[in-house]
Point group: C2
Amino acid sequence: MDMLWSGWGDPDKAAPLPDSVIGLLRDLLGVTPSEREPARLDGIPVPPSPLADDTLRALAECLGDGAYVRTDAESRIRHTRGKSTPDLLRIRAGEVDDIPAAVLLPGSHDEVLAVLRVCAEHGVAAVPFGGGTSVVGGLAPQVKLCFVALDLRRLDGLLALDEVSRTATLQSGLRAPQAEALLNVHGFTLGHFPQSYEWATIGGFAAARSSGQASAGYGRFDEMVLGLTVATPEGTWEAGRAPRSAAGPDLRQLILGSEGALGVITSVTVRIRPLPSTRIYEGWRFASFEAGAAALRRLAQDGPRPTVLRLSDETETFVGLAQPDKIGNSDAPAAGCMAIAGFEGTDEDTADSRARAREVLLACGGEYVGEEPGDRWAHGRYNAPYLRDALLDAGAFAETLETAGFWSALPALYDAVRQALTATLAEGGTPPLVMCHISHVYENGASLYFTVVSAQGDDPVAHWAPAKRAANDAILASGGTISHHHGVGTDHRDWYTEEIGPVGVRILQAVKAEIDPAQVLNPGVLIPLR
Amino acid sequence: MDMLWSGWGDPDKAAPLPDSVIGLLRDLLGVTPSEREPARLDGIPVPPSPLADDTLRALAECLGDGAYVRTDAESRIRHTRGKSTPDLLRIRAGEVDDIPAAVLLPGSHDEVLAVLRVCAEHGVAAVPFGGGTSVVGGLAPQVKLCFVALDLRRLDGLLALDEVSRTATLQSGLRAPQAEALLNVHGFTLGHFPQSYEWATIGGFAAARSSGQASAGYGRFDEMVLGLTVATPEGTWEAGRAPRSAAGPDLRQLILGSEGALGVITSVTVRIRPLPSTRIYEGWRFASFEAGAAALRRLAQDGPRPTVLRLSDETETFVGLAQPDKIGNSDAPAAGCMAIAGFEGTDEDTADSRARAREVLLACGGEYVGEEPGDRWAHGRYNAPYLRDALLDAGAFAETLETAGFWSALPALYDAVRQALTATLAEGGTPPLVMCHISHVYENGASLYFTVVSAQGDDPVAHWAPAKRAANDAILASGGTISHHHGVGTDHRDWYTEEIGPVGVRILQAVKAEIDPAQVLNPGVLIPLR
């Protein structure tokens, strides 16, 4: 099944907003139905592929079968950009200036290597494409070269399973549910459940340093990775010979987060864990975001560490985003801040952690509100992107952004980003609702995830741009990182270069020049070209 | 206090071997007292410093005071090579072909920057020097350029302490006990206690990816690092803005393990933890190394994870190295394999972990043998290098080497390394005793640490070389990494290049060329020069 070309996910799962929410949006934010006619897939004027015949032939030869080189309009539209809100608004408006010249479907690591060699020889850029879920412009290289999308869906095998060491080698085109199914058969799980779970791929998780909703228990994806195999125009790059090593810099960590700019990840060896026998999610209410954050910090620093741990601020709790199924459906507005604590594992370990976490949360002023909010959260955990489509359909603008910082920096970071978003959008005539939650905690800090909803205004893409820039500036000025789990892409590149500084940028450019001298690997993504 | 120039540690702590051990060495391994007369510090013929006057002047200007540029023989001898057994044998023989041209003592990050600029201009290599404890040739660059040692002891400050986020920023020249003292005052600990603890520095831990004896609980040093500041000839390189980030590759991991070849680390921001209120170490006996390893694996994979977890093989248990104070002093030879499990933390957490670990260890066939072996281990934990000096003095050869691998690969790795060492040394006429322990465990694998004792033979350095090469070959052939915590230096460089492959080597060379175009940063260490 293909993802909805103009929005998120399974087209059959799309659902309009209830009238109550539409009324709320109108009264609160001045949202009115859009009068723009959305483009139809078959009505988008797609220019012919700019690839020369000899290039197409050479690429087809790499893949053994011409059927794996696609230049039809629909294939190319479906591989245009990612799933940020500006991406959706642009494709709905029929804008295809970022369309790939062709879509290639390599079937092996060696085929990817061969394709990259041809790309380098013919001056064609290559953009790895997993689930197509980037929300930071990671699929829209900013170059004059024409480019091809390397759709990795045929790289969908479980290459090795080591039950003693608890490792699995997965090909990079496996979608997360496919990977889980392959592991579940043997009694194992990866434990990686980001909001993009239903569509995103193993390679994408590695390339963009994904973080799942159960990161408190299972860790971030980059913490699960033990080895990687990468295809580059200069040959195969393999990293990771032992779980840990003192043999030089950890080159795995140079591949993780490289977003296709330093090579195409073709397989990943990951740590796996036994399937949990118990999963319990429960709700806790705190008087304030500050009080709730202090409780999360205590669990993150002194334990026990739940598997899932998240906290919505007052606004998000009030709106009900902490429990997606409850939006527009609550009996009374929720007060305070809702936290979800989830426990997965053996029956015994889960009972033990839960009991000890309960003591800590009570001591921190938490009020236990039962499993119902937890179950609702778990049930609706992948629904937010569908909700965004419905909001866009209803004429609202909705987007998310995120950061992370040290615990002591979080209050100022929280205030600065909210302030930047609110002031900029209000100034533009569309005062927003800004909500926030903490969804990933560490001993030394946590992430902040913001959701912004406003009216669309005349030109929502142009309208959002200054607010996004102001938020990015606020993040850096307050000591946060420009992304905790969405990545850099092209949208965050300017702030990323500021974050890592001139020496950091030169180092990455030098690495790229060494393994990609023709600069065909997702050029302009992550770092500026030299 | 300075380290013993011809051996390890505090000269006052040196102690000769008991006669019983000398007898055992003679009977078992044919060790006879060496007839070589050891060199005296004041008798070593040190060539004059090859530094030109204008270079010396320029370096002195960087440091503000000529007293921080030292060219006297003793200072230079004390900064010659590290503390591997071949290093000790060479310096005891008065060999100073690797002697630095001068010893510099910069007092700030900016002074290090200035020194590196002068070095690049004048074509002088720079070797960062912390505790001088490298055992892999990390302080002996293999180049024709003359070089200066940058002794970082004056960089000894606690720059920042964030009790909320539990982080501390430490200057790189702090020795571990100094750093602990600075943190202990505030109720915190780093929890990093490698065998080199008494002498090694924060910068060295980061540069060589050190791993401490409490790594099961506190993690490896590279896992504690949240940020680094590095001086390079091309300017300052800073990395680490948040505990975790999806903003591109993790450049911290490129600095960690770079061994001075990519810059001089001047400060490190680390995760700190509350001082434990309880420390308990206990002994467990297993019928075999295999059975003990299975028990350790179970704790590493399913918990609870003790703070310290180690297991000696049959030979090491028999000899008593599992309890250094017991060597030559045991009532009866120890049978089976001795494991040490240590628990540190709050009273409550420690009691809980200990009780649950006890169940697991019993279920895995372990026999509890009380706290006495644990206390003996803890008491003697930093003594092994002193013991080596005594062995060398008594005419024995003693050296260690280590690796790590996935759990499923460990049995073959263990056999291959033992076999390589035994066969090669026996062939050379000095059959060895080879002992091994596991001292660092992970979910997916563990380290193996080998100790080799034999007679010295006529030329012990030459005698050891083929055995070391054979062990390194065996490590790579069996899927291990060339070092779990000693590092690469010059001794492991050839195997390291094989481990990371040609693309990996090119990448590191490209990074070095970018930030060190004159190739003055510890040249020839880690990677071959291009």
